[in-house]
């Protein structure tokens, strides 16, 4: 599980059935080592049952936790899901980029 910032959205028409109707957001993990947004990280694509907006900070869970976020432990063709929208983070010494786009 990690905290990241929603940087965009992705659409796919040709896809496996399980992804039908799922909103897929692109999330860049917050990185304690960088003052500015990380220049080269692999963004994570996560299914979003909550309706997060671009620019918001979110909590992303993987695996079983992500499946439970979609209402059960059934098999789904995705392994990452947004499970929370962050209101505030109190982390003394955190880089300024953590709060910049909140």
């Amino acid at each position: 599980m990690f905290i990241g910032r929603v940087i965009g959205e992705v659409w796919a028409t040709k896809k496996v059935d399980d992804l039908g109707g799922k909103r897929l957001l692109v999330i860049e993990p917050l990185d304690a080592g960088k003052e500015r947004p990380a220049p080269k990280v692999t963004p994570v694509v996560a299914a979003d049952p909550l309706g997060a907006d671009v620019g918001e900070r979110v909590i992303v869970a993987f695996g079983k936790a992500a499946r439970v976020a979609f209402g059960g432990d059934g098999d789904y063709a995705f392994e990452a899901a947004i499970v929370g929208i962050v209101d505030d983070v109190e982390a003394p010494g955190a880089p300024s980029s953590w709060g910049e786009f909140a």
Binding site: K14, V16, L19, K40, P43, D75, A77, E79
Partner: protein
């Protein structure tokens, strides 16, 4: 799940039994600055993506489920979608405080 670009296909004759008949693609993960990772990954493709297309790739149980044989399979990476549109703000160029809700989109 990540987004990557299909850069090629992989064929293998001598392989684990559960992998018979599957299509393998080589994919370079997309990075946040718009470039692509130097380390390609190999994924099974159950939906028929072409070289040059951007695709969604999943790992682990989600991948085994997407490959869809109702049983355990000796692979952990799968293509689950072909990307039509990737709408991503450029964080480096966005002035501080300019972020807001995304513009309305007529998509379901």
């Amino acid at each position: 799940m990540l987004v990557g670009t299909v850069i090629g296909k992989v064929w293998s004759t001598q392989k684990e039994q559960s992998l018979e008949g599957l299509r393998f693609l080589m994919i370079r993960p997309w990075l946040s600055d718009g470039s692509e990772s130097a380390e390609p990954i190999v994924a099974v493709d159950p939906i028929g993506a072409d070289v040059g297309e951007k695709v969604l790739v999943v790992f682990g149980r989600a991948a085994r489920h997407a490959i869809g044989r109702g049983q355990d399979i000796g692979f952990q990476t799968a293509v689950v979608g072909v990307v039509d549109e990737l709408d991503v703000a450029k964080p480096a160029r966005r002035p501080k405080g300019s972020s807001g809700p995304p513009k309305e989109r007529a998509r379901e």
